[in-house]
Symmetry: C2
Subunit: 503 residues, 2 copies
């Protein structure tokens, strides 16, 4: 075969894998949005069969042959940019799974699925000991898988790199140290302020149908394309991509806490805009998705916090909210509304945390994960360490494990190394906003006058359209001229909260 033929053949091979992945994504969307319960167990087997097919093809002899040819130095230079990045990604996956015995991986997948069920029960009963043996086995598997890749030092880096390619503990340590130094004093001032916002009206009842109509309206206003997506209802909101022409979001209508629905919808909508704007050239390649969890989260948080919690956005939309409602908010001023939706205080649950204290929740998890994989921390010690860390970072401690170490599904799901990308994404988002401000100093006016599309265009040009063609730090450097830098987030938070709380 000529190089060109090999490239074509390789890309067709990858295209099939992507098609299988799309079928899997659809099955998952369907299971979460409304598949009848009695069909679920057989549907899970379908997902298993398709996943198995993807796994096998990713480490098949055929794949190995392609990779051997296409990573040869004499060939690499002749490859177009897309193919070269695809090959790099395929190689990474290949190396990751190559040395894991198939049986062992299967056992891990089953364990992971069991652990998530056990977690639900353990959480309900607030009983960490029930989950502990499963978590121990998961951590053992994870450690072993990392060793199979030949990694001996700083094993946690391997996990970080899974979600945020290029990320290391050195980088995170630096960023989180500064973030902590910057955020903790703000939190203290906020807590000490005598000028606390009034928030009672945020719990005024807004019926689900009105709330839905308002969410649909905001998504549209934010640029979400309903010809390339749809909004459904689920217990936990999420975004899922079938292909860039089919990027779906879900939300949950909380009639007595409508802003958590609104901000959740805007958040998922931010993820969706990223995926809807990926260049159509990348469809059918392995690069047709957001480049990392961090960059993805930067987009959802950009929309949730820098747009959705801004005064400019509500200068435009607060009067509309009043129209969707039936009088409940008529006596509320824009200023009071803005302060209320930015209320901040240390709390126990990460997913309910405000934008100021959120990064501290992530630091608790990061410290623990790092010790678990690079240090001597044992799974059995998690509840104690958790509580100590919460005290240290947030000054409060949970009464029970349900509101503590058991609150997140990530660890029973085997997702160690994932959490830091949430805070990193937040840091990136602030950097992107800073970069946009340089080009568009009238950022707030654009938002308040309904020209969000100017901003979204910037995001598309610098971030969205590339999919995974650029790596996360490449995106960040090209768009902002620097690497992860927490100063912009700190100054945003300091500036915003000192105004809201008058300190």
């Amino acid at each position: 075969m000529t190089v060109e033929e090999t490239v074509n053949s390789y890309r067709q091979y990858v295209k099939k894998i992507m098609d299988f992945n799309e079928a899997i994504a659809l099955a998952e969307w369907d299971m979460r949005t409304g598949a009848p319960v009695k069909g679920i167990s057989q549907r899970s087997e379908v997902v298993g069969t398709l996943s198995d097919e993807v796994f096998k093809r990713s480490i098949s002899d055929e794949m190995k042959t392609y990779l051997d040819v296409l990573t040869d130095s004499s060939v690499q230079d002749k490859l177009d940019r897309v193919t070269r990045r695809m090959v790099e990604e395929s190689r990474k996956t290949f190396n990751r799974f190559e040395h894991i015995p198939a049986e062992e991986y299967k056992a891990y997948v089953i364990l992971q699925s069991e652990a998530q069920s056990v977690w639900q029960e353990a959480k309900a009963k607030s009983d960490f000991r029930q989950l502990q043996p499963y978590l121990e086995k998961i951590v053992d598997f994870k450690r072993k898988f990392i060793e199979y890749q030949g990694v001996k030092e700083n094993k946690y880096n391997t996990l970080l790199d899974l979600y945020e390619p290029g990320l290391t503990t050195e980088i995170v340590d630096g960023v989180f140290k500064r973030l902590r130094e910057g955020i903790v004093p703000i939190v203290q001032s906020v807590c000490a302020s005598k000028d606390q916002p009034e928030t009672g009206f945020l719990h005024n009842h807004l019926p689900a149908d009105k709330l839905k109509a308002f969410c649909l309206h905001l998504l549209k206003e934010n640029g979400y394309d309903f010809n390339a997506g749809r909004l459904d209802e689920t217990e936990h909101p999420f975004e899922i991509t079938l292909n860039p022409g089919d990027v779906r979001v879900t939300t949950n209508y909380q009639e007595d806490d409508f802003m958590s629905t609104v901000l959740g919808t805007i958040h998922e909508g931010g993820h969706a805009l990223y995926e809807q704007h990926i260049s159509r050239e990348l469809v059918g390649t392995s690069l047709c998705e957001g480049t990392s969890m961090g960059i993805h989260e930067s987009q959802s948080l950009f929309f949730e916090n820098f747009i959705g919690r801004s005064k400019a956005y509500w200068a435009l939309h607060f009067s509309e909210l009043k129209k969707f409602a039936s009088g409940q908010f008529d006596s509320v001023s824009l200023d009071d509304f803005y302060r209320a939706i930015n209320v901040s205080h240390p709390s126990l649950i990460r997913t309910l945390a405000d934008e100021l204290t959120y990064p501290l929740h992530i630091m608790v998890r990061y410290d623990i994960e790092k010790e678990l994989f690079n240090g001597n921390l044992e799974v059995s010690e998690l509840p104690g360490v958790w509580n100590d860390k919460m005290k240290e970072y947030l000054g409060i401690m949970p009464d029970n494990d349900r509101e503590g170490v058991l609150q997140d599904i990530h660890w029973p799901g085997g997702d160690f190394g994932y959490f830091p990308s949430y805070a990193l994404g937040y840091v990136y988002a602030a950097q992107f906003k800073h970069a946009i401000l340089k080009e568009h100093p009238d950022f707030d006016t654009l938002v308040s006058e309904g020209h969000l599309s100017v901003i979204t265009k910037w995001l598309t040009m610098h971030i969205h359209r590339f999919g995974s063609l650029k790596k996360p730090f490449e995106i960040l450097h090209d768009a902002t001229g620097e690497g992860p830098n927490p100063e912009y987030l700190i100054s945003y938070l300091s500036d915003k909260y000192s105004r809201i709380y008058n300190f």
Copy 2:
């Protein structure tokens, strides 16, 4: 490998094919119920990839090896009943596709998909000549594929057998001859009757949300399990099976013609009950679906006509309809309602035909298909022959091809041989009703007092649970003691319509 090992390995192999099929079915359901338009073309490629995988595996060397071992006479007797039938089905598929060159089959699939698009346009413009070249190629492909199987005489039998295993022109000729002799005089008496039902109130407005609530109620009453299914809205109603725990139906809310929605929903619900009641033993085998188009249609028509158009059913549900409505039907008597929903007159469109004239529409199509494959009829002659046959069977003729030869999607879709199963299914349904009456002479009381489950249990015991484990004529024989026999349908129609029209 021992025989047992071969059986296990073969059944796992088939299970994977079935999992792929479930993923395909989900993708199709999704595309028809609400997938965003911009994602459709890439989604179609996913369906293509999965279908290709199914096709390849059905005629693979691995499949051939299994079939060679498992169809050996020394082995066959040792197989359990399920495996034996699975092997028989696999062999049939293998033989069907074995000699078709892959490239030729692919060309056919593409042509078929193009032809369906062209058909939509041609139908809108009522221009048969636009479709003609596509239809000619499809018929050529079909003829060639039949020849590849070594069939020389009565090629149409091969097509009939695809949808209704065991069916031949000899059987259809006999059944249709008697049906025609039986039905035509009834139609003449109906037309001549001075006592025509009043039907105006069937077009009283019923808002979609009320109509939906009523349909959900009736489906539940008819035994449809919403934990193993769901109801969505589409332009054309359909039933689709993911697995027996996930059998979905759709309907279309026609606010000014609510009975067509109600009867359409009951019809699809009849298909769904069949699939929901298939024995769980058959999940993951190739037998986990209705055994033929005819038997399937017998279940939908049983519910639509013998239940949904019966006076007993509406004795129970007419007062409920009045509650779902808001006064529109208060002055209508049950008797008038019953007569209205059974109004009959010759009409041009099959899908809108009443239960009395429906079989005549099928006969028109059967005569044409038979001549096309067994005789000398050319595609170019279709419009003329169509109109002549309509005149002959129904006494009316369309003004244009849109309401004539272009009305159905089946032929551009390559589905020749499918139509007869609609009428056959109707014949079966009448036979099943006769058999049930022997065991439950109080059939009407069961229906009017809400004990439909007794009847459904009979259907489950004799038909549903077997899936494709029994062939259609085996089902029919075991349940009714005879083969296809049109007399029960004729006497049902004769009896019912002479009462309604007083002749």
